[in-house]
C-alpha cells in the first residue's frame, strides 16, 4: 500500500469528487442566502496580513460557483485553521469549513498535495501517528529520548495490518 494508491493521485476519484461537490453546492446554497460580505472574517483572518487570504472573497467566489478555480489555486492552502472566521461571522457562515471542503476536493481531484502533507499521511498509515518518536536535545546539548525522561512506552495501534486496512478503506470509499 503506497501513498499514491491512497489518494489516487494519478487517477481522479470521481465518486469522491461528486460527493464533495454536492457538499460544496449545499454550502453554496446556504451561503447565498446569508453572507452579505461584511468582511469581518477577513478583518480577523490570521492568514490575511501574511499570505493575502481573504475569506469573504472565498465565500463570494463560492456564491458565484467558481469552485474549480479555487480548487486549483494555492491560496486555499494558506489557511491556518485558527477558526476566527467561523467564530466571529455574524451570519454563522464558516469560511474555514468551505476551505477544508475545497482542499479535500483538490486532493480527491488528483492534484498534488502540497508540502509535507503526503509524509504526514504516510506516517499515520504506517505507524498510526504523525511522526515517530524523536530524540530531543536539552538546553545544555544532551540528547534524550522518551525512556531517559522516565516516560512509559508510547501508545500506537496494536494491529497495524487491520489499522492500515481501515485507513485505505476511508481513502478509497466515499468521503
Amino acid at each position: 500500500m503506497s501513498i499514491t494508491d491512497l489518494t489516487s493521485m494519478g487517477e481522479p476519484q470521481t465518486e469522491i469528487r461528486k460527493e464533495i461537490n454536492d457538499r460544496l453546492c449545499k454550502l453554496q446554497d446556504e451561503i447565498s442566502d446569508y453572507c452579505y460580505q461584511c468582511g469581518k472574517c477577513t478583518s480577523g483572518c490570521e492568514a490575511h496580513k501574511l499570505l493575502e487570504l481573504e475569506p469573504h472573497k472565498i465565500v463570494a467566489l463560492l456564491k458565484r460557483g467558481l469552485i474549480d478555480e479555487m480548487v486549483n489555486s494555492d491560496v486555499i492552502w494558506t489557511c491556518m485553521s485558527c477558526f476566527k472566521c467561523r467564530e466571529r461571522c455574524p451570519q454563522k457562515i464558516a469560511p474555514v469549513e468551505v476551505l477544508f471542503a475545497l482542499k479535500n476536493m483538490a486532493v480527491a481531484s488528483g492534484k498534488q498535495i502540497p508540502g509535507n502533507y503526503t509524509a504526514l499521511l504516510q506516517s499515520v498509515l504506517s505507524i498510526g501517528l504523525l511522526q515517530d518518536i524523536k530524540s530531543v536535545t536539552t538546553r545544555d546539548n544532551k540528547t534524550k529520548n522518551r525512556s531517559d525522561i522516565g516516560l512509559p512506552d508510547i501508545s500506537k495501534p496494536t494491529d497495524s495490518t487491520k489499522f492500515q486496512m481501515m485507513i485505505s478503506k476511508i481513502a478509497i470509499e466515499k468521503v
Partner: protein, 290 residues
C-alpha cells in the same frame, strides 16, 4: 482519587516530552490518576485538509478505545481535544454518519457509542481539581511574576463545538496562575494564532506568525510566556531562535508549559517537570519572587 485515561495524541508523546512529564507529575500530586491505554492513533485533525472522513473516523476510533475501558479521557493537546469533541458532536447527532464511521471501525473490533467524555488539562485543573486545592499545594509562591498566557486557538474556537473556555475572554489559565501567586496580564495579541499548522506546507510563514507574536510579548515586558499546547510550544519554545531570525528580532523570551510552572510552585524538581528540555532561556527567570 479520580481516574482518567490519558490520550497523548502525536506531538506530545513523540517530542514534547516536557508536557507529558509535567502533566503526569502535577496531576498525580493533585490526586488525579492517569491510566495509559494501548492502541491509540492520531486524532486526525492535522489531516482534515486532506480528508475529513479520515479525521472523524480516527477520532471515533480513539474514543471507542476509551469506551472499551470505561474511562473518560484527559486530552492535553487542544487540537486533539477539538477533533474528539467535534467527532462526538457529529456522531451523537447524525445517525447516518454514526453508522458510516462505525462500519470503518468494525475491522478492529471497535464501536463508538458516545459513552466516554473528553476533558482538557486546563478544565481538569480549573473545574475538577479546583483553585482552592491548587492554592493548598503551593510551596513556593511565584510573586510578581508577570505572565503572558497563550491558550492555543483550538482550545477556545469554535465555540459552536463546545470548547472548555470562552472564545473571546478566556480566564481559566489566569485564575490558575493567580492561585500560585503569579501576576497574569492580558495583552492585545492574546488570542492570536502561533501559525503552527502551516508547518506542513508553509514553514517559513508559520515561523513568521510565531516570531511576530512573541516579539510583541517581549516588547511588553513580560517575564514568562505560558502555553498548554504541544504545537504552539514547539513554535514558541523549541523553534524560538529560528522564529526570531525570521522576523529579524532577538527573541529571549522564557516559554514554559502551564504544568511546568505549576510543578515549580508545588516544589517538584526541575528534572521531574523536564525543564532541561525547554530551549528558550528559562534560566533567566528568577523564580520565588522578590
Amino acid at each position: 482519587m479520580k481516574k482518567y485515561g490519558l490520550y497523548p495524541g502525536c506531538v506530545m508523546p513523540t517530542e514534547q516530552y516536557a508536557l507529558e512529564k509535567s502533566i503526569r507529575e502535577v496531576l498525580q500530586l493533585l490526586d488525579i490518576e492517569l491510566v495509559d491505554l494501548k492502541g491509540f492513533s492520531c486524532c486526525g485533525e492535522p489531516l482534515k485538509s486532506v480528508n475529513q472522513m479520515m479525521t472523524i473516523t480516527l477520532s471515533a476510533r480513539n474514543l471507542a478505545i476509551a469506551e472499551k475501558e470505561g474511562l473518560d479521557l484527559i486530552v492535553p493537546c487542544p487540537m486533539c481535544h477539538l477533533a474528539l469533541s467535534d467527532c462526538k458532536r457529529i456522531l451523537d447527532t447524525d445517525p447516518s454518519m454514526n453508522q458510516k464511521v462505525n462500519k470503518f471501525l468494525e475491522d478492529e473490533g471497535l464501536k463508538y457509542t458516545g459513552k466516554s467524555n473528553v476533558f482538557h488539562t486546563v478544565e481538569i485543573l480549573h473545574n475538577v481539581v479546583g483553585i482552592e486545592k491548587i492554592k493548598e499545594k503551593v510551596k513556593k509562591s511565584l510573586k510578581e511574576l508577570k505572565v503572558a498566557t497563550h491558550y492555543g486557538c483550538h482550545l477556545f474556537r469554535p465555540s459552536e463545538v463546545g470548547r472548555p473556555v470562552d472564545s473571546e475572554n478566556p480566564q481559566e489559565i489566569e485564575n490558575i496562575l493567580k492561585a500560585i501567586g503569579a501576576n497574569p496580564m492580558d495583552y492585545p495579541e492574546k488570542l492570536d494564532c502561533c501559525g503552527g499548522l502551516l508547518n506542513a506546507n508553509l514553514p517559513e510563514s508559520a515561523l513568521t506568525k510565531t516570531g511576530q507574536k512573541l516579539q510583541k510579548v517581549q516588547e511588553q515586558g513580560f517575564d514568562v510566556f505560558i502555553d498548554v499546547c504541544p504545537w504552539c510550544h514547539r513554535q514558541y519554545d523549541t523553534k524560538q531562535k529560528k522564529a526570531g531570525e525570521t522576523v529579524a528580532a532577538k527573541l529571549e523570551m522564557p516559554v514554559m508549559y502551564l504544568t511546568q510552572l505549576l510543578g515549580l510552585s508545588f516544589g517538584i524538581s526541575e528534572e521531574k517537570i523536564g525543564l532541561d528540555l525547554n530551549l528558550s532561556p528559562v534560566d533567566k527567570l528568577k523564580l520565588g519572587g522578590k
